[in-house]
């Protein structure tokens, strides 16, 4: 760490003499030679741990993952990571990363389209690989994300990307893999006259929204079979829900709404259903399990929904879902910049009941399965992409999370970011001034 810092300082000092704008590091070049990491504890992502392990990869794919004793070193560039930990690159589902730079500046926001039903809208083409935020996310071990649009009843289609690319086309891991449905809120009378007076109209609106949705599903389900005079973008985009080529992500939280929305989707023949948000998932766990519906649970670091709930309800929900046999993954939906806290969300789940390796799976292999990319990602297993993180300590604990190496598809990525740069810049300023105190006390220099 110390050496690393000094190195950067020197680099910064050197670069200060020339204009520096290179805050987003260049995407790493393709893996040029086989690499073998040895001596670490390997956390595969599927619940298993291998002590004193080695992981080899070549041409972007994992060629070996197991005990160091079984590894064939010939031809590999060996990197000694003894005492460290190897993990699969973490995957963050349901995010707006790259669709927005500064939340309060409209010009930097590309996550919402007008209109209620936008299944044809594709988020991935707005994914900005040059975002200053992306490198800060990688630094903590998150290497892939699902770029997800918001708004309306159907927000659009999401894609899975990896976080080290020159442009969105390079970044794609799986394009347009699912459609995001924001389930219209159930509306209930409250006894508040001002609100209840509007309730009738709002319920009508909800009915209309659900009718339009049902019609869209009905028509899309038969769309592929028919011959069309005109191509219909919305139907074409939705059709994949009915042959299983696309997933339906239903964003909803309240228990009754989860049941209502899942039943709605099943009735219309949707094959693959994932519930996102799912604050009340525990109360409908049996239903979710019986219907084989997976959950992306948002907001582990959230307050309980109700004062009466257990104080630690959001923290222990992952454990309770696991216990109930529901397939789930975790996301961090509080902010975009906060996505780098994804490992700690898993850490909290582990602090509140979940086994540590299970907690890891909920941000790696489980996520890959839910997103339909587990053949190529999500765990450190032979044949999968070499998307790997090495940390000097437990990745899930901020006390020890310290990523020393990260590889995406075998490419060794640059862990620098704008924030490290700014830190070094000012750390260096103060150090310079300490050396030359006379110049340190000048006023109003800025």
């Amino acid at each position: 760490m110390k050496i690393h810092k000094r190195y950067i300082s020197a680099f910064v000092a050197l670069m200060l003499s020339v204009p520096v704008f290179a805050q987003v590091p260049a995407a790493a070049p393709k893996q040029s030679k086989p690499v073998l990491l040895k001596g670490a504890t390997l956390h595969i992502g599927n619940g298993q741990v291998v002590e004193n392990a080695a992981v080899g990869f070549d041409k972007g794919k994992i060629t070996y993952a197991g005990p160091q004793s079984g590894a064939n070193l010939s031809g590999y560039e060996v990197v000694d990571v003894t005492g460290q930990h190897i993990y699969p690159g973490l995957i963050h589902p349901n995010s707006n990363l790259g669709l927005n730079e500064i939340e309060s500046v409209r010009a930097t926001i590309d996550w919402r389209e007008v209109g209620d039903l936008n299944p044809h809208v594709r988020s991935v083409i707005a994914y900005n690989t040059d975002s200053d935020i992306i490198p800060t996310i990688r630094t903590n071990g998150v290497l892939m994300t699902q770029v997800t649009p918001v708004g309306g009843t159907i927000a659009g289609s999401s894609s899975v990307v990896q976080l080290d690319a020159w442009n969105w086309e390079d970044a794609i891991v799986k394009a347009d893999e699912g459609i995001h449905l924001n389930w219209p809120n159930m509306l209930i009378a409250t006894g508040n006259s001002a609100y209840d007076a509007r309730l009738g109209r709002m319920r009508e609106q909800r009915e209309t929204a659900l009718t339009e949705l049902a019609t869209l599903f009905r028509d899309a389900a038969v769309y592929k079979a028919g011959k069309h005079d005109n191509e219909n973008l919305k139907l074409a985009a939705t059709a994949g829900l009915f042959d299983g080529s696309k997933k339906l992500y239903i964003h909803t939280n309240f228990g009754k709404e989860i049941i209502e929305s899942v039943n709605f989707a099943k009735k219309h023949g949707v094959k693959e259903i994932v519930v996102v948000g799912a604050r009340d998932a525990v109360s409908v766990a049996d239903f979710l399990k019986a219907n084989n519906v997976a959950v992306i649970y948002s907001g582990v670091h959230a307050l309980p929904s109700r004062a009466e709930e257990d104080v630690d309800m959001p923290y222990k929900t992952p454990y309770l879902l696991h216990k109930a046999g529901v397939q789930f993954a975790l996301d961090y939906d509080l902010s975009i910049h906060g996505i780098r806290n994804l490992p700690f969300i898993a850490g909290t789940a582990a602090a509140y009941g979940l086994d540590k390796e299970q907690a890891l799976a909920s941000v790696s292999l489980n996520t890959a399965k839910i997103l339909g990319i587990d053949k190529q990602a999500g765990s450190v297993e032979v044949g999968k992409d070499a998307t790997i993180v090495v940390s000097s300590g437990d990745l899930l604990d901020m006390r020890t999370n310290n990523v020393t190496h990260a590889f995406i598809q075998g490419r060794k990525i640059d862990l620098n970011n704008k924030q490290k740069y700014l830190y070094e810049k000012f750390d260096n300023k103060y150090k310079q001034e300490k050396k030359a105190p006379a110049s340190a006390t000048t006023s109003a220099g800025n």
């Binding site: 760490m1 810092k5 730079e101 500064i102 939340e103 309060s104 500046v105 200053d132 809120n185 159930m186 509306l187 209930i188 009378a189 409250t190 006894g191 508040n192 609100y195 939280n253 309240f254 228990g255 009754k256 709404e257 604050r279 009340d280 109360s283 670091h301 959230a302 307050l303 109700r306 004062a307 009466e308 104080v311 630690d312 902010s335 975009i336 910049h337 906060g338 780098r340 700690f344 850490g347 582990a350 602090a351 509140y352 899930l396 604990d397 901020m398 006390r399 020890t400 999370n401 310290n402 924030q419 490290k420 700014l422 830190y423 000012f426 750390d427 103060y430 340190a440 109003a444 800025n446």
Partner: protein, 1007 residues
């Protein structure tokens, strides 16, 4: 409930024009009558505690002339025999809107442009919500419909309050006679002054928070005093009127228990004991309510049961709403038992007909009938200084009384008449009771038996002949109509009509074959007593659940107590020069840390095994917005007059949740909507205690300042009117404010240096609460916490402070602190920052997670804060991020959420480290406190374990049991025919200082 015949008419018996309108000319001959009436042989309740049997009430000219057993009825008196009836004083409601105009708010919607100044024209207050010039008597109009509605409940006199604004002027006491002019029915033209915290119809921005309302009211008291002392300085009708209205009893309308305490505090400051119209939840803080000494006006508005049949829906009903449903009817009894003076009002009832049934319910729940009557007669009369006119029936008082069929509070009682100022209003008649068994005879028909049962007012008919058939029967006066089918199979009806002759019935009728018949029905026996009493069952007082503190989930009937505790063999993070001690003991005694060391012993101490566990000082959150009713008075650029301490909400569940995260002390800050915000409150998380008891004793005063996007309103639509709209303007706001403060201070210094004689000739300067706070800053008596982001503005404020001669104590947020850390260090300014937030708005695009570490490295006292109710319960983890991002040592990192914030709050002499003599604000963790895997096992505040993991588990079970009990009770109530309401969830919004408006909207959606 009895349905009784009601009669709307005022019978001009005697008293048509008693209190003659002497100044009014007549069209026609004068028709004054004395209205001399004697009601004899009655049971007269002359006041709430005195009953005279077989007595006479003599009234003349609308007043009581005599009352008692020996009253001689003079010649010329109309005599009414009231044998068997009761007479009570007419009831008094001291909080109504009777005869008042409707209050309409024309406030613009969200996003409408600000209105900085009053739209009211004339020489009035600067603020539209201050309207003490209102005199209800000038607005009052007799309203027949409202008067009749209230008379039916038994009321004869009401206080009419114009419920609009913070200072509402005077209220007028009037009778409910509606056959007279306003001139005659006004009893006291100005009976009371009226106040509230609600700005009512005011369209002006300020105040837009509860704390703003409180500040405005306090300033108005001061301004009124100043105006009285300096009559020539400013013509201000409102201030003159305010002073005038102050002479009367002051009635303060609030809607919650905490607001009662808030109002009372204002009253104490200005020597006023308010009478307070409460919200019905007073029983939840009875000790504090009693201590306020305020008489409380109670509405009898009890909530309906929630419809909890659907378990998903039932989850939305908060525990306190369920418990309040059960407890609300007991409020009056509990207050009365505690010695609080109470009066009742019918004003909040959606359906006024609920008044008497709910009053009976209050009695059923433990209030004595005598106290109930007192609360409706003598108490309001006395509080309004009208007890020589109304509230009892003594010679010379208004002839306001009610005549009832029996005991006013009995379920089967009927109010027969309500006399107001000697005018008789018939309310209802006792229906004649014809129930019994009759023998029906008709020619060419077999004899039949008529069984008339049901209730007297709704008789039911059964006809027993060859078959038994049910029929219909109605009485109207002494006329009767009945019809029934010939026999069971037949659909042909026999219809009879007749009249009452002695006890028997007779008349004519028509048979199905169209022939007419004469009939008689001879009375044979009355209905059995049992059948009668079944219709008037008295319900028993139900078993009630515990009152818990605070009154919501995780409240407790008994608060945890201070103990002597010895934690043995733990890793102790002392934050002192000893550093981290392994296998050490900590002794907690009398709320303090008594000893720290190894192998400690203490007789009688409760031993807590700390093996493998960690002990740290309690976490201190330098920047919090929990436990508040409102965060921003976001209207004016300078609102130094508002105080968070006025709006501390001790019921906030986040207090408990944060204890569960190891937090023991929080600075509750004003928001960041204006360059100079409000005064902070520093609380300890003593869950279950009152707002007053949460305050950290003898803490220094702090105040919130703010810079940047929020104060220049750059992220708001439609708000580009208020100065400042740029960082340039922000500087000028500070310079101007402190310049004014200096001049203000000088004017007081000059005045205070005058001799006594000179002082008496010189008017005192006007006291200004806003400038008072700024003067305190100039004199190092109040300290600044300034919300700040970018270096330009931080440098600006440091320079302004240097030039104007004040200090900045802490820059909070300070996300670019790493750019100016050397300058902060130079001036001894601390930094309290987020661990890793950035990119959510323009001014944080250069924020870095190494900020805290770099500031700390340069010697700035650095804290990590939350500004967020959730993150606050993981501040230990946020501190750990400085280890990760900037290589700060673990012990220094922990200090960022313990000792350093204590320093920033000037509390490090008693908090922030594990040292003998300091407050026993201590957390026991299961793991290294900087680890994600760590959680508090116990959190002590003042040596009291306000959070205990084991007890928490137990409380969860108890909570679930209590909810199930209440759900069952509600289901039973519904089955029993009680009204229900839809389950609604009030979701308290979690506030950040970004939230510009005080916003506690309910969330109506399903989750």
């Amino acid at each position: 409930m009895k349905k009784i015949l009601t009669i709307a008419a005022c019978l001009a018996l005697g008293a048509g024009h008693v209190m003659a309108q002497e100044t009014f000319p007549r069209n026609g001959v004068y028709d004054e009558r004395s209205g001399l009436v004697a009601l004899t042989n009655a049971t007269i309740h002359t006041d709430y505690k005195t009953t005279i049997s077989n007595a006479t009430l003599l009234i003349r000219n609308g007043k009581v002339e005599a009352v008692g057993t020996g009253v001689k009825v003079p010649a010329g008196a109309v005599t009414i025999d009231a044998k068997g009836k009761h007479i009570y004083p007419g009831l008094v409601d001291m909080f109504t809107g009777y005869g008042m105009p409707e209050v309409k708010s024309e406030r613009g919607g969200w996003g409408s442009p600000p209105q900085m100044e009053s739209k009211k024209q004339g020489a009035y207050s600067w603020n539209q919500a201050i309207k003490p010039e209102t005199n209800a008597v000038e607005l009052f109009k007799v309203d027949k419909k409202q008067a009749e509605e209230m008379r039916k409940l038994g009321f004869g006199t009401v206080l009419a309050v114009h419920r609009d604004g913070i200072a509402r002027g005077t209220a007028t006491l009037v009778t409910l006679a509606d056959n007279k002019r306003e001139n005659e029915v006004v009893v006291l033209d100005k009976a009371a002054g009226a106040l509230s915290f609600d700005k009512g119809s005011s369209t002006q921005d300020y105040p837009n928070s509860l704390m703003g309302s409180i500040a405005l009211l306090r300033q108005t008291y001061l301004d009124a005093q100043w105006n009285t002392q300096n009559p020539s300085r400013e013509q201000n009708i409102s201030l003159t009127a305010f002073t005038a209205a102050n002479k009367y009893p002051q009635i303060f309308e609030v809607d919650s228990k905490l607001d009662i305490l808030r109002a009372d505090k204002v009253g104490d400051e200005f020597g006023k004991q308010y009478i307070i119209k409460g919200g019905g939840d007073e029983y939840q803080m009875i000790k504090e309510i009693k201590a306020s000494n305020a008489p409380i006006i109670l509405s009898l508005n009890f909530p309906d049961a929630y419809n909890v049949e659907d378990p998903f829906d039932a989850r939305r009903v908060p525990l306190e709403a369920m418990k309040h449903w059960e407890m609300a009817p007991a409020n009056a009894a509990l207050l009365n038992k505690a010695g609080v003076t109470i009066a009742f009002t019918a004003s909040d009832l959606k359906d006024k007909k609920d008044f008497l049934p709910n009053l009976r319910k209050a009695i059923q729940y433990g209030l004595s009938e005598e106290e109930a009557l007192k609360a409706l007669t003598a108490t309001p009369a006395k509080l309004l200084n009208a007890d020589s006119k109304v509230g009892s029936l003594n010679k010379g008082m208004l002839a306001n009384f009610i005549v009832t069929s029996g005991n006013l509070f009995a379920a089967d009682n009927i109010i027969l008449e309500n006399w107001v100022q000697g005018s008789q209003y018939k309310i209802s008649e006792v229906p004649s009771d014809y129930r019994g068994v009759y023998t029906l005879k008709m020619p060419q028909q077999p004899d039949r038996k008529l069984m008339i049962s049901g209730t007297a007012e709704r008789p039911e008919l059964k006809v027993i002949g060859k078959d038994t058939v049910s029929g219909k029967i109605t009485f109207n006066g002494n006329l009767v109509t009945l019809s029934f089918n010939k026999d069971k199979k037949s659909k042909e009806s026999i219809r009879l009509s007749g009249w009452l002759q002695d006890k028997n019935l007779q008349g004519e009728g028509q048979l199905p074959d169209a022939s007419t018949v004469k009939w008689t029905a001879t009375f044979s026996e009355a209905m059995s007593q049992k059948a009668k009493s079944d219709s008037t069952k008295v319900a028993k007082a139900p078993q009630l659940g515990n009152i818990i503190y605070p009154f919501r989930a995780y409240g407790q009937n008994e608060l945890p107590k201070q103990e002597t505790i010895l934690i043995k063999n733990a890793t102790v993070w002392t934050n002192e020069k000893e550093g981290k001690l392994e296998n050490a003991d900590v002794l907690i005694k009398n709320g303090k840390i008594a000893k720290v060391g190894k192998n400690l012993t203490e007789n009688g101490a409760k031993i807590v095994d700390g093996t493998g566990k960690h002990v740290t000082p309690g976490i201190i959150d330098e920047h919090s917005h929990i436990a508040l009713n409102g965060v921003n008075e976001g209207t004016q650029s300078v609102t130094a007059e508002v105080r968070m301490a006025d709006v501390v909400n001790s019921d906030d569940i986040n207090i408990y949740r944060q204890l569960a995260g190891g937090v023991t002390t929080s600075q509750l800050l004003h928001g960041s909507a204006n360059p100079i915000g409000g005064q902070s409150a520093i609380i300890k998380l003593r869950w279950g205690k009152s707002p007053e008891e949460l305050m950290v004793e003898n803490a220094d005063g702090f105040i919130k300042f703010a810079l940047g996007e929020n104060v220049k309103q750059s992220n708001r639509n439609n708000a580009n009117i208020r100065f400042p709209q740029s960082r340039m303007g922000v500087e000028q706001v500070f310079v101007d404010a402190f310049q004014r403060a200096k001049e203000y201070e000088q004017s007081w210094k000059t005045y205070n240096s005058l001799s006594k004689r000179e002082k008496s000739k010189t008017p005192a300067p006007r006291r200004d609460l806003e400038l008072d706070a700024l003067v305190e800053i100039l004199n190092d008596k109040r300290f600044i916490t300034c919300h700040s982001y970018v270096q330009s503005e931080i440098n600006m404020l440091m320079q302004v402070a240097d030039e104007m001669g004040f200090k900045v104590n802490t820059f909070t947020h300070i996300l670019e602190g790493y750019k100016v850390a050397d300058k902060m260090k130079e001036r001894g300014i601390g930094g309290s920052t987020f661990s890793d937030w950035w990119a959510y708005k323009m001014e944080v695009k250069d924020a870095i997670p190494q900020n805290a570490g770099l500031m700390n490295q340069l010697g700035v006292v650095t804290a990590i804060n939350s500004d967020d109710a959730e993150m606050a319960r993981r501040l230990n983890q946020e501190a750990a991020k400085s280890v990760k991002y900037a290589g700060v040592s673990e012990e220094d990192a922990l200090k960022m959420v313990t000792l350093n914030p204590a320093k920033l709050l000037h509390l490090d002499d008693r908090m922030g480290s594990i040292k003998a003599g300091k407050d026993a604000d201590v957390v026991l963790w299961n793991d290294n406190p900087l680890s994600i895997y760590a959680k508090p096992l116990k959190t002590f505040v003042d040596g009291i374990a306000y959070y205990d993991l084991e007890r928490d588990e137990q409380m969860r079970e108890e909570l679930e049991k209590e909810r199930m009990r209440l759900i069952q009770a509600m289901l039973n109530a519904k089955t029993g025919g009680a009204r229900t309401q839809a389950p609604a969830m009030r979701r308290a919004s979690v506030v950040h200082c970004e939230d510009v408006e005080h916003n506690e909207e309910e969330s109506y959606f399903a989750h």
